[in-house]
């Protein structure tokens, strides 16, 4: 099993923020929930409590950007765009303010139900001109998200994992560069965020059944290098399966669909994720199973794509080892 890292954001943000004078820490009454409570206590001069008033916070952050600061906004992802969408557009995205939107508890990683689950955030953010979207899939990516986000010349929305996070990778996020986790030639699996851990689990079981898997992990969702992924799509005999902690409309499944259609790729695409549905409150494992966001769903998606039953059981998936990925350069050696 991979190493589990406790509260990786907490340390990473403090280290980054203290090395960069223009970085400010903003919170909307979810300070400990976003792992910045120690930062608040240790560095009050760089911390701004904006309260439960997200509309003001987004425009206020635009004003801070105008003053030359680079505010990091901390709250649950859902609160960064649903209520303050107008402010996000007019005060942050249009003028390309260097506002860093740190969205915690993406998708079904919260038990908070519909009001707390950012299930369409990527879709919304992808359609906003000037917006960059990053998503973390492991502890190393969480540890490097601050530097990656702050390198963006404009606004950036980040899906950030919190709490106990597995370490899958040992190299930081390189903005715009997908991770090539396996380079098989039967089927291409594309994942991001927590879906990648599921895919690693499914991959072991699939490969045990003789399926040669090509697996890409996306941490930069927008902008996106279509050319790079086209090579991978062309490299597999079968089609593409996407799995995302998000609705299947507008996220990475749609991203792949657009790229394939734009380039006339005549291969099948199976998009897995929340199927035009809201979720409800529950544990992450329960929700991932209930809504078909887990390794089992991914195996079923591959079976659908290949038109064959592979006979993989739940036990096969449960016992599949998920090891840390020690290199993105020689991914095929994993």
């Amino acid at each position: 099993m991979p190493e589990m890292v406790n509260r990786p954001y907490e340390r990473a943000f403090e280290t980054y923020a203290m090395a960069h004078p223009e970085v400010l820490c903003l919170s909307a009454d979810l300070t400990s929930s976003c792992e910045i409570d120690k930062f608040r206590d240790n560095h009050p001069e760089k911390f701004l409590s904006l309260g439960m008033a997200e509309q003001n916070m987004l425009s206020f952050a635009g004003g801070l950007g105008l003053a030359g600061f680079r505010p990091f906004l901390h709250t649950f992802g859902v609160f960064l765009y649903r209520r303050p969408y107008d402010q996000l557009m007019a005060s942050v995205a249009y003028p390309r303010r260097k506002v860093r939107l740190m969205g915690f508890l993406p998708g079904v990683t919260t038990p908070g139900g519909m009001t707390h689950q950012a299930i369409e955030d990527i879709s919304v953010m992808r359609s906003i001109p000037n917006m960059t979207i990053l998503e973390t899939g492991d502890a190393t990516e969480v540890e490097s998200i601050c530097e990656a986000a702050d390198s963006i010349d404009g606004p950036v929305y980040c899906r950030v994992l919190r709490g106990s996070v597995p370490r899958l990778f040992d190299t930081p996020i390189e903005v715009g560069k997908m991770r090539e986790l396996a380079l098989g030639n039967d089927v291409l699996i594309v994942t991001s965020g927590i879906s990648t851990e599921e895919a690693l689990r499914a991959r072991g079981a699939l490969e045990a059944k003789g399926v040669s898997v090509r697996h890409l992990h996306l941490n930069t969702i927008k902008p996106f290098d279509a050319e790079a992924i086209l090579d991978h799509i062309h490299a597999v005999k079968g089609g593409v399966v996407t799995l995302e902690n998000h609705v299947t409309e507008g996220g990475i499944g749609s991203l792949l669909a657009e790229i394939m259609a734009d380039n006339g790729v005549g291969k099948r695409l199976v998009r897995l994720g929340l199927k035009d549905t809201y979720a409800h409150g529950g544990s992450r494992l329960y929700l991932m199973k209930y809504y078909g966001l887990d390794a089992t769903a991914l195996v079923a998606g591959v079976e659908d794509l290949l038109g064959t039953q592979l006979g993989i059981t739940e036990d096969d998936l449960t016992t599949a080892r998920v090891d840390a990925v020690h290199s993105t350069v020689k991914a095929e050696a994993l």
Partner: protein, 314 residues
Amino acid sequence: MMSTGRNMKPTEEVALGIRRRVFEHAMRNNGGYLSQACSAAEQLAWLYNEQLTIGEPTLPMVPEPFGGVPSADNPTYHTGAGYNGPVRSDLDRLFIAPAHYALVAYATLIEVGRMAPEGLDMFNKDGSSVEMIGAEHSPGMEVHNGTLGIGLSTAAGLAWGRKKKQETGKTWVFMSDGEVQEGQTWEAIQCCAHHGIDNVYAIMDVNRQQCDGAMNSVMDVGDIKTKMENFGAHVVSIDGHKLDEMRDAVQEKHKGKPLIILANTSPFRGMPTLQRRFPRLHYVRFKSEQERAEMNQDIARALGVAPIDYGGVH
């Protein structure tokens, strides 16, 4: 006694000039934001002619055409803030929070010598930066405020940042009373109070009108002054057509609090015949050639100018 302002012209004359320019424009274009000129002329004249500490314009007197929206592919993009002079730590900034007052704001820029009169001819023309609802790239604008209620929050963020950097310039917001129907306005005031942001200054045109008509018929907002005070602002309520009251109001001590001047105004001031159109004053489009001709005569007389030759029947 007349006081002379930064433009070496009495502020009263600037205000009259604003009304005359907006009137002329509305006549030629068969309508416009006339009542906003009536209510706000003194406030904008006072800000630009007396109160704001701003530098010489940095952009051409005749506005450039629309230069594209901000994007990574548009490196020459700039806002219209250069009409308010350069960005400098000791200079003031001004946001026009209700961007629907753009016509009045442009007329003010002309009256104080910051934009050429030709600028107004470009108003709402395709390909022009002199947009109907002031955009970031429109003369005198620095941020988008067409969506009402976001201006004060942006100013608060800018002001907090400027204070942190020990900049001495003030951040001013021209506001409209309709904005108090938006919850964000209250979020912004409580935020200023909580963080002690007292380098924010607002003057609000309280004309009691909004798009659908009189505010008390659309959504009554009650006692704005008391509500704002309860949210933590220092509020001064004045007659928004009396310059001396503005001059006094801005002197009030407001340590730790934003200063908000409520300028109570008449939407007919200087153009009494507009009362005929009450309560639909937001954008006055003449209903008939006859009404246009009558208003032309009446308002011209009230403003002390000749009727506008707009090519119609006289």
